[in-house]
């Protein structure tokens, strides 16, 4: 008796969640493509974005768009600073870089715990009420966030394909050595790239803060999911990540609606392990 409105509702919700994972995944891909490291502090930058949004709206009563923009810029600057001060020394050694991001993650999380305490805090809702599309009920706040994140994705696409720095950064992400040969000064792009990568994660955190509550470990779930999106989509391939993010978002929403949700998550990991083993380069990643 599940009418198609339920299915539509689940799919739309899946797309909104998928866009969140995609923002995180692109951020992760930029950092991985540039520095060949798995950024374990990605979750904490998502949390950073969520808390900046919380302070911006709950404290200073700023309009949502302004807060989201401010979050991105703060995170971009902070990310670049972190790269220059800490990760710069480890550019050659990917493993130390990876473990350093674990340390950075721990520091950010404990600072947040000390300042904001462990309990969830609610961000005043940015949009009340619902939108009805042919019987399907879609919470306005989520659509708002979904539309906004898709807007960001489009700007990112424009930045990567039609601006000088964007194309250079994309070249570096795709193949660091080839970019160097073409005379792109890679070392300039390290801080910007890391800043942009974690900036996108903070952006996702800020967009989703009004929908979910905000607490120091809020970023862990989305980080794990963005890892899966990047693996399934193929490390370093942004179009692959886009497809994988939507598949994951929708399947998670559908399985949450129709299946016992915790099974879905367990099988998801099994699927990822299987995929990694059979097709390490992922769906669209090139066989390097």
């Amino acid at each position: 008796m599940f009418s198609e409105t339920i299915v539509i509702q689940a799919i739309v919700n899946g797309i909104v969640i998928g866009s969140l994972y995609l923002l995180m995944a692109i951020g992760f891909t930029v950092v991985f493509g540039l520095m060949r490291i798995v950024n374990f502090s990605h979750a904490e930058f998502y949390m950073l974005g969520a808390f900046i949004c919380f302070v911006g709206i709950a404290y200073f009563r700023l309009p949502f768009i302004l807060v989201v923009l401010a979050t991105f810029l703060i995170a971009l600057a902070f990310g670049s600073l972190v790269e220059l001060s800490i990760l710069k020394r480890m550019r050659g050694d990917e493993l130390s870089g990876m473990i350093a991001t674990i340390g950075i993650g721990m520091i950010l999380q404990s600072v947040a715990l000390i300042i904001f305490g462990p309990d969830p805090l609610a961000v005043p809702s940015i949009a009340k009420g619902i939108i009805r599309i042919g019987g399907a009920v879609l919470p306005k706040a989520r659509i708002y966030a979904g539309v906004f994140s898709i807007g960001v994705l489009v700007t990112m696409y424009f930045f990567f394909h039609h601006t000088r720095h964007g194309r250079a950064l994309r070249a570096v992400v795709q193949d660091r050595e080839a970019a160097q040969i073409q005379g792109i000064n890679v070392s300039v792009y390290y801080p910007i790239g890391f800043g942009l990568g974690v900036g996108l994660a903070s952006l996702a955190g800020a967009l989703m803060a009004p929908i979910f509550s905000v607490y120091p470990t809020v970023g862990f779930g989305p980080m794990v999911k963005s890892f899966i999106v990047v693996i399934v989509g193929g490390l370093g391939s942004i179009p692959g990540a886009a497809i994988a993010a939507m598949i994951l978002g929708i399947s998670e929403s559908l399985s949450g609606t129709f299946l016992k949700s915790s099974y879905a998550e367990m099988f998801l990991f099994l699927f990822v392990i299987g995929l990694l083993v059979l097709r390490p380069q992922g769906l669209l990643g090139e066989k390097s």
Binding site: I211, S213, Y215, S262
Partner: protein, 391 residues
């Protein structure tokens, strides 16, 4: 906006009262969830016990066997994880040599540490809802608050009669407590002639409830049962359900934490929720306790706090009557026989002989209240024996 004071300040407060004249100290252990999901209930235990201790110390200490004891509360955070609770109870029993422990919050933690407290004859008074806690071969274990086994049936009968509910959906955390409570709640609604349709179990740290809510609304339930979900999860469920346009009734049979739910869901979304509560604001003794709580702590007082204040005072009373701080067998004998103790939450005695085979389940009055503009308004007064009447 009240940022939480850091935990360090709180535990220092507990040690702060060193300067009193009493010559001996009696250590009392508290294992509670101070951080993570369920932190509100953990602080209810910690604050209730600390206030009871402060009261005794200000009166010159607990007089036992000719000596005056100053009560020192040692608190450990179990982060709602059984493993952490076990480490904490090992430290309390072996290092701090404590004979009385109050807490923990979660059933998983309580089940895990009970073997240690029973083996070392340490009295434990927990909040955990699991039925595995109380039985005849756990003489040193008590429960300091009523559970769904006690209050579910009377409350649900009253609500079903008053609001005429036909179909109800429900959410449960996927752990020991959730499993246990889902059985009690389903039985109670069955007896009241209501069909419990969607039974949703979810992982503790889940934040997106829209998919599950979509399914429940597809079964067009006219009410959603929140029972003992952690306050943050319950708040999210209410908020996201209202976002999806759900106009039905929310019922929370269990775990008083209205303030936290309102914080997360917002005042208008949580308008009209029917909650179980242990506090009647008009009761003089409860008002006195709420005032004392406001003087000492910035956080909002949680509904469980009075029962743990009373539990601590009953234990101190039993120690005085048994005239010993070490012979816990004697203290248990005295504690079991306390009747009509006038606590902050009203008249208190023990029950549980028929359901658990041991009379270690506290029986305090409880109420059904409706959330109006973010505040609880009493709608019915109930006790285990007499059921609920319009109040």
């Amino acid at each position: 906006m009240n940022f939480k004071k850091t935990i360090v300040a709180l535990s220092l407060l507990g040690l702060g009262s060193l300067a009193y004249a009493a010559d001996e100290t009696l250590d009392v252990g508290v294992i509670a969830t101070i951080s993570g999901a369920g932190a509100g209930w953990g602080q209810a235990i910690q604050h209730g016990v600390e206030l009871a201790a402060k009261e005794v110390n200000e009166a010159g200490g607990l007089e036992v066997d000719g000596k005056k004891y100053k009560i020192n509360v040692i608190t450990y955070d179990d982060k709602y994880q059984a493993g952490e609770a076990v480490t904490a109870v090992n430290r309390l029993v072996h290092q701090d040599k404590v004979k009385f422990i109050i807490g923990p919050v979660g059933s998983a933690a309580a089940v895990a540490i009970k073997p240690v407290t029973e083996k070392n004859e340490v009295i434990m008074s927990t909040m955990a809802f699991s039925e595995k806690i109380l039985n005849e071969n756990s003489p040193f274990t008590f429960r300091a608050n009523v559970t769904t086994v006690e209050f579910a049936q009377p409350q649900i009968d009253w609500i079903v009669k008053k609001y005429g509910i036909k179909k109800i959906g429900s959410f449960f955390p996927n752990d020991e407590t959730g499993l246990q409570v889902s059985k009690d709640v389903e039985k109670a609604y069955g007896n009241a002639g209501v069909e419990l349709v969607g039974k949703e179990f979810y992982e503790r740290d889940r934040v997106d409830f829209v998919p599950m809510l979509t399914r429940l609304m597809g079964l067009d339930v006219d009410a959603i049962e929140l029972n003992i979900n952690a306050p943050s999860s319950a708040g999210l469920i209410v908020k996201q359900a209202r976002d999806l346009g759900f106009e039905g009734l929310f019922i929370r049979t269990g775990g008083p934490s209205t303030q936290e739910i309102v914080n997360v869901a917002g005042e208008d979304a949580s308008e009209g929720i029917l909650v179980h509560t242990l506090i009647d604001p008009d009761l003089a003794t409860t008002q006195a306790y709420m005032q004392k709580h406001k003087e000492n702590y910035t956080q909002a007082m949680n509904g469980f706090s009075p029962s743990f204040y009373d539990t601590a005072r009953m234990i101190f009373e039993a120690i005085k009557q048994a005239n010993t701080v070490d012979d816990t067998k004697a203290v248990v004998a005295k504690l079991e026989n306390i009747k009509d103790f006038d606590g902050a939450a009203g008249k208190i005695s023990w029950t549980g002989q028929d359901t658990y085979g041991i009379n270690h389940q506290i029986s305090t009055p409880f109420y059904v209240a409706e959330v109006v503009d973010g505040q609880e308004v009493i709608r019915a007064r109930c006790t285990v024996e007499t059921g609920c009447q319009d109040g």
